[in-house]
């Protein structure tokens, strides 16, 4: 449920109604900033928000996003290390006895 898509606020279009212009991959639409308007509206310009049915529902936390990606990167490295270990094991296990003589 609940398609949500990140977009960047590029302008405040109607301060009275708390409306702003959001850009999502080059597509623009006026959205309500009400849910994230707990700060002066002009401070929202440039922020990335999560948009759902024409409302900016949350400000996206860049630091948290970076942390998640960093965790994934580390996980990737860890898996690679594990893979290499596993490969080493397999290589040892797979080496048939006759080949030993060839060394």
């Amino acid at each position: 449920m609940c398609l949500g898509i990140p977009g960047q606020i590029i302008a405040i279009s109607d301060p009275a109604r708390q409306m702003g212009l959001a850009e999502i991959s080059g597509v623009r639409r006026e959205v309500s900033l009400a849910p994230v308007a707990d700060r002066p509206l002009h401070r929202l310009v440039g922020e990335w928000v999560l948009i759902h049915v024409g409302f900016a529902m949350a400000i996206i936390d860049e630091a948290e996003a970076a942390a998640t990606l960093e965790a994934l990167r580390e996980l990737g490295e860890a898996q690679e290390a594990l893979d290499q270990m596993a490969e080493g094991d397999r290589a040892l296990a797979a080496s048939p006895a006759p080949a030993e003589g060839a060394v």
Binding site: M1, C2, P6, H52, G54, F55
Partner: protein, 380 residues
Amino acid sequence: MRYVEEFRDPTQARALLKAIGRSAEALGASRAAPIRIMEICGGHTHSIFRYGLDKLVHEGIEFIHGPGCPVCVLPRSRVDEAVTLAERPGVIFTTFGDAMRVPGTSRSLLQAKAQGADVRTVYSPLDALELARRHPDREVIFFGLGFETTTPSTALSVQQAAAEGLTNFCVFVNHITVPPPLKALLDDPHMLLDGFVGPGHVSMVIGTHPYDFIARDYGKPLVVAGFEPLDLLQSVLMVLEQIREGRAEIENQYARVVPEHGNPVSLAAIEAVYEPRPSFEWRGLGEIDASGLRMREAFRAFDAEARFQVGYGAPQGRAQVPDPEGCACGQVMTGRMKPTACPQFGRGCTPDTPLGALMVSSEGACAAYWTYGGARVAAE
């Protein structure tokens, strides 16, 4: 950072899949004895199938598709009531596209439109509000569908209408809340779930604490997840880690969007405009206590049911309509049956001729199985 492509990186996905595989092996999971993880949210169901994650994860992981599609859980009677409203002379009935094809007893909104009702698809309740401003001589009704993610948008729209003094705008309220059906599921003695992937966008509004009872009272892990494939895979891995470590906690994979305590403006708007209904009817689940919302007395002027005496606003009470014969939606939605096990799947019930809502909405488990081939590619 654009917060989309970064979370769709195939290389990272391969690493995650490997880690999940290792975890599953470590837990001794197999096709015969899988670890069952329910993604509550239809959006997650959709992502799983769209990216083929169900077939990419270790065979010891089984996804159970939960009741988290607001269209799928809509009973036929509510569609009938929507059609009744839409067919009133002078009404412009506005809806998200999702609801257009959901079958009612005799017709869907799409069919009602073809037969003359003025039904319009909108992207936002704000667009319905704008129609009301532009057509002061018409009654504009908005079909208010959705869980906690969507509820703030109609609450804020109603507040805006009130502020502007618009008298020709109202909402047919079908907002529902996630925790009650989860509790109903967990109370079911037949249910054998090992953990949950929690709905990211609902949580962005309500925060993570409303799920605490799942860990605390039922001992099941839940990880609030984003919707990109890496989000989902990471969340699955986090559930597996909890299981492996014998933990049952509410964790937040989607912290870039979901604050622990949700969104205060949205919560305040919901609280101001809506109150829980005593009970609300869910397709396949029947009436669930305090699972739906209705407008507070102060906003009753914006309540389509009260205004037009329809549905819960009808003086003579609501007509209950049984689910169509042979429809196993209730069982599929509670994870007790796979879509492919429904006797109607692919026979009486296909996306062209849906019997149940699960086959209509692209978030419905049956439609996802059909469209993205969980069933048909496998059958090949």
